[in-house]
Amino acid sequence: MERNVVLSVRDLVVKFRVRNRELTAIRNVSFDLYEKETLAIVGESGSGKTVMTKTFTGMLESNGRIANGKILYEDRDLAAIKNNREWEKIRGPKIATVFQDPMSSLNPIRSIGSQITEVITKHQGKTQAEAKQIAIDLMDRVGIPNPADRFNEYPFQYSGGMRQRIVIAIALACRPNILICDEPTTALDVTIQAQILKLIKDLQEEFGFTTIYITHDLGVVANVAQRVAVMYAGQIVEVGTCEEIFYSPKHPYTWALLSSLPQLGIKGERLYSIPGTPPSLFNEIKGDAFAPRNPFAIGIDFEEEPPFFQITPTHMAKTWLLDPRAPKVEPPTAIHDLHGRIQMILKGEVK
């Protein structure tokens, strides 16, 4: 099924100046984003997931810059935009963001309603009265009870889950093309998490936008993602459909990630954890960034950076293990038959 590419990242390099040293947060990333899809970007803290999406909205911190590459969206290169005014047209109506902590996203001393309507009046040119009506509808749509009454209330009068719904409502009030959700459920209760995820899914079907989820929670990924991109040390190391990533991962880091899911642990077995820490991005990295922690490392991993190897039309991984010259390696037992294992755990057959 041919889908349109809505955003395309080409050879992106992002650097930060930190206390007189330079840190390369994104080291040459390229990928495509398709219309109406749900892409999940996973990786540990510091892998570069949030930084990358910030470049789509020009929200990089002042000490960061795009050192190289293009971000192609609607016939223009977002990486080349320098003028804040131009970004204002993109942020919101084209690309909207939902952040992790709904409490700090909302201005505590302004009413909820005003924070929604200001977006509507600005981007859709409606009058205050019209905007208020649209806002109330939206509040209803995201599941706020008695929206007309609660329109004038303040953020502290809402619970955490409801605030996140409001944040989503605000993001949607802009009618964006692409919605970036940066760890949208991490700060919420587990019970509310499911509701929020379902809400976003339903809204996506209704309004037809593309969703990018940034998360380190593989449970969320399994729930919502159609495609998954795994990031490590500022690069995408593997990308594929959800099934491909979970059931036939090819990159040792993906193996390690999946293995360390405690939910997959079986009583009596040792819990797996990846030794060591990610490399310092201040230094130039030679070869494969994951090599020092990779139990399956081979010689060339320390010398040359691996290219992407295509496994299926939708599945690629950046590891020398896929090179025909490399030894054949089986993924670790824990994830060898992930599907089977999950079934067993669900059925309670394995204690």
Binding site: N20, G276, S280, P292, A297, I298, E303, R325
Partner: protein
């Protein structure tokens, strides 16, 4: 084709645990950061010079503000600064050099002693205040009353009631001066007491003295030094003003403030008589302030590289 490069390599687990950050010593970093700024080095030299001169010079000059040994020698009146009298002489032939250093000595002594006392009392009370919830209730009420009376008013009142003099001034400055410091420390203690790293230490069974010396004190150092850097110039300024108004110190104690007040009338005729004490006062205060501020910034670990 078996390429050697494609064979498995034994990974050195410890290499991946390597922390690339350099070895860090708190106090070394504090001093390194401090000495990075040329301005603060210059100010430190100036402050040290002024302090040393102010402590030593009056011992040799034998200056006494109540006596005017040259009063009958008319030729020694109103001499502009020259080689014999570096700061010149005043209307009764007294050397401004001697008077100025004696006054500076008073300013330094008063500000150091009263600030020292205020800090000791303030920190002791504040630390206790921050820990005890019961004490907090009462002390807060008291604080709300005391803090809302202008400090100048309190000091002036104390001096008025209990009389003037060197130690009277110190008492007037310390009778309520410790309170704002205690309040500040109380707030800081409350903040860090509940900070997670302290909860963690407690859970891990860290003994209290070690917690205080390793967890709390280093944090408080930066806070305390910042306080000091503000307090000392404030007291210098206050003492100068009180003496200028004739309140606080008796004429037996030399003071820059009184010199300024005495020589205000000569501001047009013999400007050096007025401006030299003013400059001395300003230099004293500015140098201490900058040294204190820079040290306070340097002792905040967030500014260390």
């Amino acid at each position: 084709m078996a390429d050697k490069k494609f064979e498995f390599v034994e990974i050195d687990e410890s290499a991946s645990e390597h922390i690339s950050a350099p070895h860090y010593s708190y106090w070394k970093s504090v001093f390194r950061t401090f000495f990075k700024s040329k301005l603060s080095i210059a100010m430190l030299i100036l402050a040290t010079f002024i302090t040393v001169m102010a402590m030593i010079q009056p011992l040799f000059s034998g200056y006494n503000p109540l006596s005017s040994p040259n009063i009958l020698d008319f030729s020694l009146r109103f001499n502009a600064p020259n080689l014999k009298y570096l700061f010149g002489t005043d209307n009764v032939g007294n050397s401004l050099f001697d008077a100025a250093w004696a006054g500076t000595r008073t300013s330094i002594l008063i500000s150091f002693i009263s600030t020292g006392l205020n800090m000791v009392i303030g920190i002791a009370v504040g630390a206790f205040w921050g820990y005890s919830k019961k004490a907090d209730k009462y002390l807060l009420e008291l604080y709300n009353i005391v803090a809302n009376v202008p400090f100048l008013l309190v000091v002036t009142m104390m001096l008025y009631v209990f009389g003037y003099g060197f130690w009277n001034l110190i008492m007037a400055l310390t009778i309520t001066g410790w309170f704002p410091i205690a309040y500040f420390i109380r707030t800081q203690v409350m903040i860090i007491r509940d900070r997670e790293y302290n909860l963690v230490s407690r859970c891990l069974g860290t003994p209290t003295p070690r917690m205080i010396s390793r967890n709390i004190l280093p944090y408080l150092t930066s806070v305390i030094v910042t306080l000091l850097s503000r307090e000392i110039p404030t007291v210098i300024s206050l003492e100068a003003f009180l003496s200028f108004m004739g309140i606080g110190l008796t004429s037996a104690t030399p003071s820059l403030g009184r010199l300024i007040s005495q020589y205000t009338s000569y501001i047009n005729a013999y400007p050096y008589l007025f401006w030299i004490p003013v400059t001395m006062l300003a230099s004293l205060s500015v140098s201490f302030y900058i040294v204190g501020q820079t040290f306070a910034d340097a002792s905040d670990p967030k500014t260390h590289m």
